[in-house]
Symmetry: C2
Subunit: 348 residues, 2 copies
DNA sequence: TTGAAAGCGCTAACAC
DNA sequence: GTGTTAGCGCTTTCAA
């Protein structure tokens, strides 16, 4: 009937027999359910341990309908933000003895990306989605399965989410540059078709500029990568009157911008000011002023929110009012990359 | 009997009935097994698609004994090397329609780390272990389950592994510094109790030094982190006669070293030379000379090796001679951080 | 080529 | 507090 690999493993029946009880009792005892005599429980535990018994996950799942597994859907796993989030999630899940299944779906803007909606059915008890920018149809499909979910960087009605206030973060970075006296503040944006989070950052920048009576500049697109940031910065530099300061929507793009500046013999923090958003591990090394977000913590919070959902009431109606958006705080970390305008060399 | 959540999902029985065949035929047809009339298969497929049928993983697993899942055991997921490896693994697994379970076990040298040996039983069809340095007992336990395995950065008899030639990489970096005329070449090592891979890098360094008639310096320990590299470099600088060049066993430590140098007003690539191993994404940005390894590729190879094992013969005897070690090539990438000794400022 | 039927190993009513 | 028992939804012999 069954493909047996390796050692024939022992089953709950073996344990029941050895302990002189029924399989039901073994099941109850081992899972810590009530209505088991303490003495019986102890004996069952001991016997099970002696026999090195391990419950069969498949059997348990089939019978109970629970998988003890959570899927994380993320565009990337090898980029700082995402791997850090993942690590936070992993921590929490591990504490709760829940398995972590990872689906790396790629940038929805470029790759088709395997949505994995149907993959998830019966495979996991819940899903954490990490910033799939503006990928509404896919997300809707996901939720249609009725799986408990929790989002990071995406707001969705009825689903708990963990986000920073993107507009505020962008405003903070931009305002900092403005406060230093800069009037021509360039912006390194993500991509032309903005995600909600990108749009909010753009808004924050624009608001800060207009609030100071300054003219927002046209965005250069860096696609949130180092290489993209480099070429975007390069294009900014080729303008007739380059900015004296630059706001980058992500640290990676700022890193790329720094490289572009180096190539042009322009010293960030001396000839030009630059600030961004992220709080990347290596931003300190590069002396980059950035608006830090508690990324690992965000992963942890999303995991907790999901776990609550999964354990909570059985009827997580969409639109549940208390499916809260958690807005985590950001902090401006001022470093050497931002200098007052009077100290910068005129590039214009 | 069963906890039913959400919509009552349709089963193979529903499909069988709708298609006018038995469940056995549906199973065969949908899985592409032979001995099914093409016409029947087509009909079953259509009906299944129309009904939006998805096999229940738990049931399928219980009946077949296969899980279609692979576990990756890694000390970290939020560090460049590990997340990059993970991404490579994820790619390959996804192509083969195999699920990826991630266990982040922490640094075995410091944390107790949940070994997860018994967790794996019945949960996955195979395991990929990423550089758990010198963690022999745990690894042995793992293999005892008889699970197909594949290692990255760890050699183990009878298990396919993907490694770089650590000694050669270290030799290459050190020799490069020696060739530039440096005679006092410091070394930023990992930790006092060396893993095999760390030991090999130390050996490569020593060999290069002795081969040039130079005296190997005493190692400073940076624990493979940026912060560790910084303090290790700091201690090197406090020596009576600091080295004119430094070999760091990892890019992260080199990054930290660069920070330490910055703090001391010493310019890497001007006052001191530094070279390391990794080929980190941001090494170019920091103009760091490094011995690059194809990390993502290593992940891919390990995944392929495991998949081969899983699909291959049913009896993967330990000690199988063709359980090959794959040694991947490394390349020295020379950048601005390594300068000839005559151009460095004397620090001694 | 197809179907009948016996499990896979566990959980959860329900009865005692 | 404990046992009995009927599944969970599939896969896989075996027979037709």
């Amino acid at each position: 009937m069954t493909a047996q690999r390796g050692v024939v493993s022992i089953t709950i029946r073996d344990v029941a027999q050895a302990a002189g009880v029924s399989t039901a009792t073994v099941s109850r005892a081992l899972r810590g359910l009530p209505h088991v005599d303490p003495e019986t429980r102890e004996r069952v535990r001991r016997v099970a341990a002696e026999m090195d018994y391990v419950v069969s996950p498949s059997a348990s799942r089939l019978a109970s309908g629970r998988t003890g597994t959570v899927a994380v859907i993320t565009p990337f796993i090898d980029r700082w933000f995402f791997s850090t989030v993942l690590s936070g999630i992993s921590d929490v899940l591990q504490e709760s003895d829940v398995d972590l299944l990872v689906y790396e779906v790629g940038d929805p803007a470029t790759s088709p990306g395997l949505p994995a909606e149907r993959r998830l059915r019966g495979r996991v008890d819940g899903v954490i989605v990490v910033t799939l920018p503006t990928d509404a149809p896919r997300i809707a499909d996901l939720l249609e399965i009725g799986l408990p979910a929790s989002f990071i960087g995406v707001r969705w009605p009825g689903v708990p989410s963990v986000c920073i206030d993107d507009a505020a973060a962008a405003r903070m970075a931009t305002q900092h540059l403005i406060n230093l006296g800069h009037e021509r503040v360039g912006i390194l944006s993500g991509r032309p078709q903005a995600s909600t989070s990108q749009a909010a950052r753009a808004r924050g920048y624009t608001e800060a500029m207009k609030g100071a009576g300054l003219e927002p500049e046209e965005a250069a697109y860096g696609y949130f990568t180092v290489a993209g940031g480099e070429s975007a910065m390069t294009s900014l530099l080729s303008q007739p009157r380059p900015p004296t300061a630059v706001f980058a929507m992500s640290d990676d793009m700022a890193f790329g911008a720094i490289r572009a500046l180096q190539r042009h013999g322009i010293r960030p923090g001396v000839d030009i000011a630059i600030a961004s958003i992220d709080g990347h591990d290596l931003s300190e090394l590069l002396d980059l002023t950035t608006v830090g977000q508690p990324v690992e913590q965000m992963g942890r919070m999303a995991a907790h929110a999901l776990l609550d959902r999964m354990l909570g009431r059985d009827n997580p109606d969409a639109g549940d009012p208390d499916a809260g958006e958690i807005a985590v705080p950001t902090t401006l970390v001022v470093r050497g990359s931002t200098v007052p305008v009077e100290r910068t060399t005129s590039l214009g």
